[in-house]
């Protein structure tokens, strides 16, 4: 990820005016791609209201996928660990949400917006906490013993996913459980002829909050600096005196918590949860992080939006092609930028 804004620095001598100090130019092309895709879809779809609905659906889905995948890409970039079991945290978050909603039934059922939102936020927080805690255990028990051994990592994280799914079935049962939206989030606004679903707007807002939060931590705090440096050269960061291994666990836990949050949002999006829901979107997650560039948060964001939009547009225009459209998108982008939209230079 390239540095974005400059910061005021008292050590920059007054003799060098800002115009003379060379700085990195922000690469906005991938972001423009998102706009281009949306723009391209408009004439194909035909009607503006339908296009609006589809675009919003795509953005919402993209945001949710971003939230889930953001942890995955950072964990890979920093620790060189590809967690094939990441999906289990999604399912875990979603199922925890069903339990929380079960406990807060009167609040989700009530007409008060405040109660509804409180219930949703409670579910999100609890899901994140549980997913984070399980993530910690997962890192220590499953992942840590196989750092650096990619083959074993793939196998073991898959094994972890199998075990996780089964344990979810043990606790909540093997069948799907409905996760209905609380009153206040149902239905749509109407702007001109277009139906703007309230929940989708909510998901987009949450997604943006997560994005801004992540970018802020990564670019404005020392820990973020450590993470970005660690993604490039772990050994050098250790040589500078930082115990980066402790950071690993933290990033893994945050990634798992975010997956849990994504699970809640995804479950509400589909209005139901199944134990396999994590495995179902595994493929989508990988496509997104490859498109974005492994280790890049902004890349993951753009990739997720592209995938979400693509899925919704093709779902409307040519349903049979939907899954292939994403793979096609990935191939097209890799042909243009083989390391992903925002490549991270490593070692």
């Amino acid at each position: 990820m390239t540095a974005t804004a400059a910061s005021t620095n008292p050590a920059t001598p007054p003799t060098a005016t800002p115009a003379q100090v060379p700085r990195a130019r922000f690469d906005a092309i991938p972001l423009l791609l998102v706009l281009a895709l949306a723009g391209l879809a408009l004439p194909l779809v035909g009607s503006v209201p339908t296009w609006l609905t589809l675009t919003l659906a795509g953005l919402a889905m993209g945001m949710i996928v971003f939230i889930i995948a953001s942890g995955l890409t950072l964990v890979f970039g920093l620790m060189d660990v590809l967690n094939f079991g990441h999906g289990v945290f999604i399912a875990l978050g979603a199922f925890v949400a069903t339990s929380v909603f079960g406990l807060m039934g009167d609040w989700t059922g009530s007409a008060s917006v405040a109660h509804n939102l409180a219930a949703v936020f409670a579910a999100m927080l609890v899901a994140m906490a549980v997913a984070g805690a399980i993530g910690y255990a997962f890192e220590r028990v499953v992942v840590r013993p196989v750092y650096g051994q990619h083959l074993k990592q793939i196998l073991i994280t898959m094994g972890g996913m199998i075990i996780g799914e089964e344990i979810i079935k043990v606790i909540w049962g093997p069948q799907q459980i409905p996760l209905p939206l609380p009153q206040a989030l149902r239905g749509s606004f109407f702007i001109a002829d277009a139906a703007i679903e309230k929940y989708r707007v909510f998901a987009v807002v949450i997604g943006l909050v997560v994005l801004v939060g992540m970018l802020w931590v990564l670019n404005r705090t020392k820990i973020g600096l450590l993470i970005r440096a660690g993604v490039q050269d772990r050994e050098m960061v250790e040589s500078l005196g930082y115990r980066i291994k402790r950071l690993f666990v933290g990033v893994f836990v945050v990634g798992s918590a975010l997956a849990g949050l994504g699970g809640v949002l995804w479950g509400l999006y589909q209005q139901m949860v199944v134990p396999q829901m994590g495995a179902q979107i595994n493929v989508l997650l990988f496509i997104v992080i490859i498109i974005g560039g492994l280790g890049s948060t902004l890349g993951c964001f753009v990739g997720a939006l592209l995938v979400g939009l693509m899925a919704n547009y093709t779902g409307f225009l040519a349903p049979k092609v939907a899954l292939f459209s994403n793979i096609g998108l990935m191939v097209a982008i890799l042909l243009w930028r083989p390391q992903g939209l925002y490549p991270v230079t490593s070692r």
């Binding site: 540095a3 100090v21 990195a24 970005r228 440096a229 050269d233 115990r243």
Partner: protein, 249 residues
């Protein structure tokens, strides 16, 4: 005679099945520049990496500031060793390419939370040694030239005071003019009584900077002494390093 900052006793290092260091002994006196010379493959980089804990010494002892940091017994991790006050400038420079010069330096300054915490005076001093860093302050470090990256790597090691600097072949791949700049900067550094262990193949640089010298061959130290004496003894130079001073101006 002050206690040496760093002492290696009979240090052996194995990498996998390969036995690279065969009992390395030398000391690094305080406030001086100690040169570590030797042919390619003599084990110089391995020695630095072993000191830094990146590779574990299988036998022997490494003592820093009177405390054991590696070898049999005490085995500290690399971050712990760095925190004790050793800075490492690797052969590959270890620059974080996507981070700006500013961010690279900020990272190296462990005590600084944000850029405002950096010691302005020290920073000005660094800019004095390496003006290019001032110019490219907000530039991604990966886009700097080779010489500038080397400067940045050294600057990172001195952005906060450290007890010992380990520098590995800074002149490698640099043009002669840049090497002169580097020598100048390091001589400035020397004036501040910083203790440095410098690995170099460039004998002119060694002669300009070194106070003591240890020469390695085949994973062992084969000569110890003062740099000045080695610089005058051409026969010794030829025997140890296979060159004469004239050949490396």
């Amino acid at each position: 005679m002050s206690t040496p900052v760093l002492q290696l006793d009979n240090v052996h290092t194995h990498i996998g099945a390969y036995h690279i260091l065969h009992g390395v002994d030398f000391t690094v006196p305080q406030g001086e520049v100690t040169m570590l010379l030797g042919r390619n493959g003599a084990g110089k980089t391995t020695t630095l990496r072993t000191i830094m804990g990146l590779w574990q010494a299988s036998r022997g002892r490494i003592t820093f500031d009177g405390q054991p940091i590696g070898g049999e017994g005490q085995r500290l991790s690399t971050p712990e060793i760095a925190q004790r006050g050793i800075a490492y400038v690797p052969e590959t420079m270890g620059i974080f390419s996507d981070l700006t010069v500013k961010e690279n330096l900020l990272l190296a300054a462990r005590k600084a939370r944000t850029v405002d915490d950096l010691d302005t005076q020290r920073l000005e001093w660094i800019f004095g040694l390496f003006p290019a860093l001032k110019k490219f302050w907000l530039y991604p470090a990966g886009k700097l030239s080779g010489g500038q990256k080397q400067m940045l790597s050294v600057a990172r090691a001195i952005v906060e005071p450290r007890k010992l600097l380990l520098i590995d072949e800074p002149s490698k791949g640099l043009a002669p003019a840049i090497i002169q700049n580097l020598i100048g900067a390091l001589q400035e550094l020397k004036r501040t009584q910083t203790t440095i262990l410098l690995v170099e193949q460039n004998f002119a640089m060694a002669k300009a900077l070194g106070d003591s010298v240890a020469v390695m061959d085949d994973g062992r130290v084969v000569h110890r002494g003062r740099m000045a004496e080695l610089a005058e003894d051409e026969d010794l130079q030829r025997r140890l390093l296979g060159l004469s001073l004239a050949a490396h101006q």
